[in-house]
């Protein structure tokens, strides 16, 4: 396997649109070796924190480090599971409540590798990528998001 694969950009400015997701899904029906696709989409919740409603999350990242780390994760997941495809996209900047901020898409000949790889990717992305979410309230104050 080629060890010096190109580092892919995973960042998208603003929300990930339903159209983008659709295009990504539609592209894969031509690969007749695929038997299962697994998708995870993270969506911004209108949480209530201290009596105030979250209207958006503003995402920032240490982009270079995040892309290097994502490259490492990608290679480890391809090594561990027999995948046909893997796609990861994360928002930067403002994403309103109800909009998609994370899109992870894996495909494999069989369902189990696709499902397990997708789930592991989501966990690793949340734990290991230097990305920060600032929850913006309707009154323009904010609260820094914390992952559990």
């Amino acid at each position: 396997m080629e060890s010096k694969k190109k580092v892919k950009n995973i960042f998208i400015q603003g929300a990930i649109s339903p159209g983008f997701i659709t295009d990504c899904i539609a592209k894969h029906s031509s690969n007749t070796a695929i038997g299962g696709h697994s998708i995870f989409m993270g969506q911004v919740r209108q949480d209530e924190i201290g009596g105030k409603l979250v209207s958006a999350i503003a995402y920032s990242a240490f982009e270079e480090l995040a892309l290097e780390k994502m490259h490492e994760i990608r290679e480890a997941i391809f090594e561990k599971y027999p995948l046909s495809c893997m796609h990861v996209h994360h928002s930067l900047g403002d994403v309103s409540a109800g909009e998609i901020c994370l899109f992870v898409f894996t495909s494999s000949a069989h369902r189990k590798p696709a499902i397990e790889a997708c789930s592991e990717l989501v966990e690793r992305i949340k734990a290991e990528l230097p990305i920060w979410g600032k929850e913006i309230f309707q009154d323009n104050t904010h609260h820094w998001k914390e992952n559990k």
Partner: protein, 77 residues
Amino acid sequence: MEIQLISFGKISEFLHSQQLEIEGISDTDQLKAYLESNFLQLADLKYKLAVNKILIQENTHLNSGDSVAVMPPFSGG
């Protein structure tokens, strides 16, 4: 020596990204002690450092011109 400090997330609200001109510091443990005594909020936080865009887990030697990123817990996704 000169350290290029880059801060992120909630840390960036009190510790701005800047060129630090400091003497008597040669590794990241010393830099952490220096930063925590100058920016008291930092001492109450969990944070990680990256030296020249590489995440470090252990005390690491610093050279003049190095960049050091100060990062609070990640909250992507």
